[in-house]
Symmetry: C2
Subunit: 214 residues, 2 copies
């Protein structure tokens, strides 16, 4: 008889919280922290503004909750790669993963882009250090690939920047992309763009594309 009739996940509060988060992500992705309006978030969540402030004590804390959630998205399979792995496999998979985020979490990508363009005022030292450490580790792996002849000579930093830039572009600049293409990117288009990008980057690095990614 100790049956739990309403789990924490589907309680009214949890549902409202997630609706607010979803609406806030859209609003922040469109206008950034300063430009976002709490009233608009409330409208998007179909709740009175007061309720938004009931669940999150301020616009700032709502923003931070979202940002934290988004940063966890950045963690992926590339994190564990070592010099013993095959660079073409690892990089192709990393690009594919990043493209997948652009496809199904475009607002998250945009919010992150805005935070960076705004000068990253909400990314604290803890995250910055962690991020820099991660970068150091990944650059070391790429450099090790180069040193062992698995990868042609290149700049590891620029390589990663190029991967981020191209993959995130499909989310951040989707408005321009759709306008110029004359239509939105379908799932099939994303698959094609992903294959195209993997081929460009890997070939550009002197690697061949694993068959799984063609």
């Amino acid at each position: 008889m100790a049956l739990i009739t309403s789990s924490k996940e589907d309680s009214i509060g949890a549902q409202n919280r997630s609706r607010i988060l979803a609406a806030a992500e859209k609003e922040f992705a469109l206008h950034g922290f300063k430009g976002a309006r709490v009233q608009k978030i409330a409208d998007g969540a179909d709740l009175p503004k007061t309720n938004v402030l009931y669940y999150f004590k301020s616009k700032q804390s709502l923003y931070l909750a979202l940002l934290e959630d988004i940063l966890s998205l950045w963690n992926g399979r590339f994190d564990e790669a070592t010099v013993d792995d095959d660079p073409s496999q690892v990089l192709a998979q990393y690009i594919a993963d990043k493209m997948e985020i652009s496809r199904n979490r475009p607002e998250a990508s945009k919010m992150f882009a805005l935070e960076i363009i705004n000068g990253a005022p909400n990314l604290n030292h803890f995250f910055r250090d962690q991020h820099a450490q991660w970068m150091k580790g990944r650059v070391a792996v790429i450099q090790a690939w180069i040193n062992t002849g698995k990868l042609a000579q290149t700049n590891a930093y620029y390589l990663l920047f190029n991967i981020w830039a191209t993959s995130q572009h499909y989310a951040d600049f989707s408005v321009q992309i759709n306008e110029l293409r004359g239509q939105a990117m379908s799932q099939a288009d994303f698959t094609e763009a992903t294959q195209n990008l993997i081929k460009l980057i890997l070939t550009g690095c002197g690697l061949s594309v694993p068959v799984a990614f063609t």
Copy 2:
């Protein structure tokens, strides 16, 4: 005796106007249209807020004046390329030009990025049509290169998106780049990044890099 003692260019008004534009570009590049504050622009230009609104009748008209100026930056040597030109020359030069904009007009690039992320609400139909027309023409040239065997089979749209993404990334995400590299990009770093990028894209397209760009 018809000597003009004060040309229009160095009149008080012209000077103030350009100081306001410079300050506004920084503010809009940091916070977007909605997030930007007229008072901050005034502070940046070292003028009372009233004067900003004296020279530009509203925040919106100031924003539009800047946007128009920035859009003219996008015009470059690639615009006149034809099927008879050498794709490796043309693309290398285009990438170099785009990287140069990122280096010396980073705020312009950021402002444009924000405008697009915001859904391009200030880009009117005239510009959109013009932009789409330009794209059509450039895609046709790239396709012609492919058809004549000058360029390997690829998707012309994605190729251009990738060039924009990578080059603009150095301006738009400069905060992240500087943080992760541990230092700002010097002119020499930009030269290296440009060569690196040209090599990546051209090699990725099956082209060889012209010696002028190595």
